[in-house]
């Protein structure tokens, strides 16, 4: 398959606000169940091991007409919860048997309770994660939380989740995570061949497809990209940061590139690469997942940083590793975690002489002109003077 064919398929999945692909998976075999989850991270392995499909829900994008969702949110709250409510109220998520709301911010947290009020019959859970990284404190708490989730997933699916099954799921997700890392590495190495909009779409497909299917897609994409022959353009290398929850419209991702930037790293859909290293598959799986979370997981503003020195280090590391020339802080309007942390991150960048700019967006932003102008000036300045 060519990249164009793969991307066409991804685009179709991306634009479909009815989740036909996930519905089809569910209907293929009687008794199958689907568990939806919001950004940033949940241990998908537990859902997978119960034979269910984890479905990543990232809002409604810029294609969904939001009517009732808006009715539940004031203008100063970000967009993703409203479009998610809209999805819920318009029956688009009726096939979803359970919803998980990870600990990311107060908005998602409250959304978990709203879901309970809105859909009294459906399993909905706020899934807390530790902000304390000691094995005996945060680790133990987290293991218990995961055990509780495991128990809930067993009940929901009607299947027992054995340690073997869980270890097996971890192995599959390990492979998936490796492939995801490969795609990112490839883009960082040859960004002219791997446009960000493509990476984005391919990663988005992973939110609605079964992991096994997505593994195949990633392999095909990697193979197809190598054969691409696209010219190198006069663009600068930048990292975008702050979009870990509500996603920007595809047009914005394209606009940044059109304005003269190659995006060499980003924080879209972190769930695909939250755990940064292979998770062991031979021990107590819950403990392995907890260890990975505490000690080898990606950073984002949703996490507490326990020492001053470590603040923003993950971003700086990425700048160095990906040879980025600048950072674009692009956060959703009204996003507390991203916007509260931004002054800390930008200070860190300034201290290390990394040029940076920032702007805000909404998942349904229509106007790209200010975005192009800001990203373009940023690219101009890097191009003309470095």
């Amino acid at each position: 398959m060519s990249t164009a064919e793969i991307i066409a398929r991804c685009e179709e999945l991306y634009e479909d606000t009815t989740f036909a692909a996930s519905r089809a998976w569910k209907e293929a075999v009687p008794g199958r169940k689907v568990v939806g989850f919001m950004p940033v991270y949940i241990p998908e392995e537990i859902i997978h091991a119960a034979g269910m499909l984890p479905l990543g829900i990232l809002g409604g994008g810029d294609n969904l007409e939001v009517i009732h969702g808006d009715a539940f949110y004031q203008s100063y709250i970000c967009r993703i919860p409203r479009s998610t409510i809209e999805l819920g109220l318009t029956g688009r998520l009726d096939f979803v048997d359970g919803m998980l709301f990870p600990s990311i911010c107060d908005v998602i947290r409250n959304l978990s309770g709203m879901w309970k009020l809105m859909k009294p019959g459906v399993y909905a859970k706020y899934f807390d994660v530790p902000q304390n990284y000691r094995d005996d404190i945060g680790g133990e708490y987290y293991q218990n939380e995961m055990q509780e989730l495991r128990h809930d997933m067993e009940k929901l699916s009607g299947n027992t989740i054995t340690d073997e099954a869980l270890n097996n799921s971890i192995a599959i997700y390990n492979e998936h995570r490796q492939l995801v890392r490969d795609v990112y590495a490839m883009r960082s190495a040859e960004p002219w061949k791997v446009p960000s909009s493509e990476v984005y779409l391919v990663m988005r497909a992973g939110q609605v497809l079964p992991v096994e299917e997505h593994i195949v897609m990633l392999k095909e994409y990697l193979a197809a990209v190598v054969k691409e022959d696209k010219p190198i353009r006069d663009k600068c290398r930048i990292i975008t940061c702050g979009s870990f929850c509500e996603q920007p419209p595809l047009n914005m991702i394209k606009s940044i590139e059109m304005a003269g930037c190659y995006v060499v790293d980003d924080d879209y859909m972190l769930v695909n690469r939250w755990l940064m290293e292979e998770v062991p598959t031979d021990g107590d799986p819950i403990k392995s997942l907890a260890d990975a979370f505490l000690h080898h997981s990606a950073d984002s503003s949703a996490k507490y940083c326990d020492t001053q020195e470590k603040v923003g280090q993950y971003l700086l590391d990425s700048v160095i590793k990906n040879k980025a020339e600048g950072v674009i802080f692009a956060a959703p309007s009204f996003c507390d975690p991203a916007l509260l942390e931004r002054p800390l991150l930008s200070a860190k960048m300034s201290e290390n002489n990394v040029p940076h700019i920032s702007f805000k967006y909404a998942e349904n932003s229509g106007q790209m002109q200010p975005i192009r102008e800001q990203a373009g000036t940023f690219a101009d300045s890097i191009k003309l003077w470095s």
């Binding site: 800001q374 000036t377 003309l384």
Partner: protein
């Protein structure tokens, strides 16, 4: 010697200039400033392009680089595009070598840019999506008050007790203003109030980019509004920004000038690298 044209496509006007650049020797040959007034900007730009060439006594073949800026990304006959903050910074240095920051006040967005003495952009900030206190708003209000654009500045300077415009929204602020008229507030005080509120937003941008050297150059059409300039200066003092805001009779051309100069610069750089083909 490089001959270049800069075209700044704005929301209200299209500014077109022709320059000859030879190292530090920069010569401004021809200019045009056309109000768009519901006409097709692309056609207007084409016409202006031909007219500056004619004015300079040249032919199209003599032009080595045509640079667009502003909303001119889609003009087919351009060689390259620079984004407006890049060009305003350079144009400001050309018009006033003391400039180390620029405040550009467009019809919808305000922008602040900080640069070095060569016009290299250091940091910048734009106003957000919400258009409160934009140039457009000022235009609407002045029409409502029956005041010509070029009178605004003068009147605003006569204010003795400026009225605070509280609304953050430009639309709701229109009602604010209507209420003021009905309370018998004088036009100068209303205009000065609007200027102050616009200045507040704009100067906040300067504060964010930490403008602290040289002078702050006002570019764009509104730069010639002396009342707004006064408000900006007052606001800068209040917010403890150590520079002073200045304008220039050619302030509206700053973007086009910068585009022409950067165009020439880029042409030379590409010629040096022997990669002129990429540019066209």
């Amino acid at each position: 010697m490089t001959t270049s044209i800069g075209i700044d496509v704005g929301t209200g006007c299209i500014k077109t200039v022709l320059f000859k650049v030879d190292g530090d020797n920069i010569e401004w040959i021809a200019r045009r400033n056309d109000k768009i007034r519901q006409r097709d900007p692309m056609e207007l730009a084409r016409r202006a392009y031909e007219e500056v060439i004619e004015e300079a006594g040249l032919t199209e073949a003599d032009i080595q680089y045509t640079a667009t800026t502003g909303e001119g990304e889609n003009i087919e006959f351009s060689t390259g595009h620079f984004y407006s903050m890049t060009t305003h910074a350079r144009g400001a240095i050309y018009l006033n070598p003391e400039s180390r920051s620029v405040l550009d006040m467009g019809a919808l967005n305000g922008r602040a840019v900080k640069m070095d003495e060569h016009g290299k952009v250091l940091t910048y900030r734009m106003t957000s999506q919400c258009a409160s206190g934009s140039g457009q708003f000022l235009e609407n209000i002045s029409r409502y008050l029956g005041i010509a654009q070029n009178e605004i500045g003068e009147l605003s300077k006569q204010a003795d007790d400026p009225e605070n415009v509280s609304s953050i929204c430009a639309v709701l602020a229109e009602t604010d203003v209507i209420n003021m008229v009905s309370r018998g507030i004088s036009a100068p005080n209303i205009l000065r109030g609007i200027h102050d509120s616009m200045a507040g937003r704009l100067v906040k941008l300067l504060r964010v980019i930490k403008a602290d050297e040289g002078v702050t150059f006002l570019s764009g059409g509104l730069a010639l509004d002396e009342g707004l300039m006064d408000s900006i200066n007052a606001s800068m003092v209040k917010m403890k920004i150590p520079t002073k805001a200045v304008n220039h009779p050619d302030s509206p051309y700053a973007g086009a000038i910068g585009a022409a100069i950067w165009g020439a610069y880029r042409y030379d750089k590409l010629a040096e690298q022997g990669s002129l083909a990429i540019a066209s």
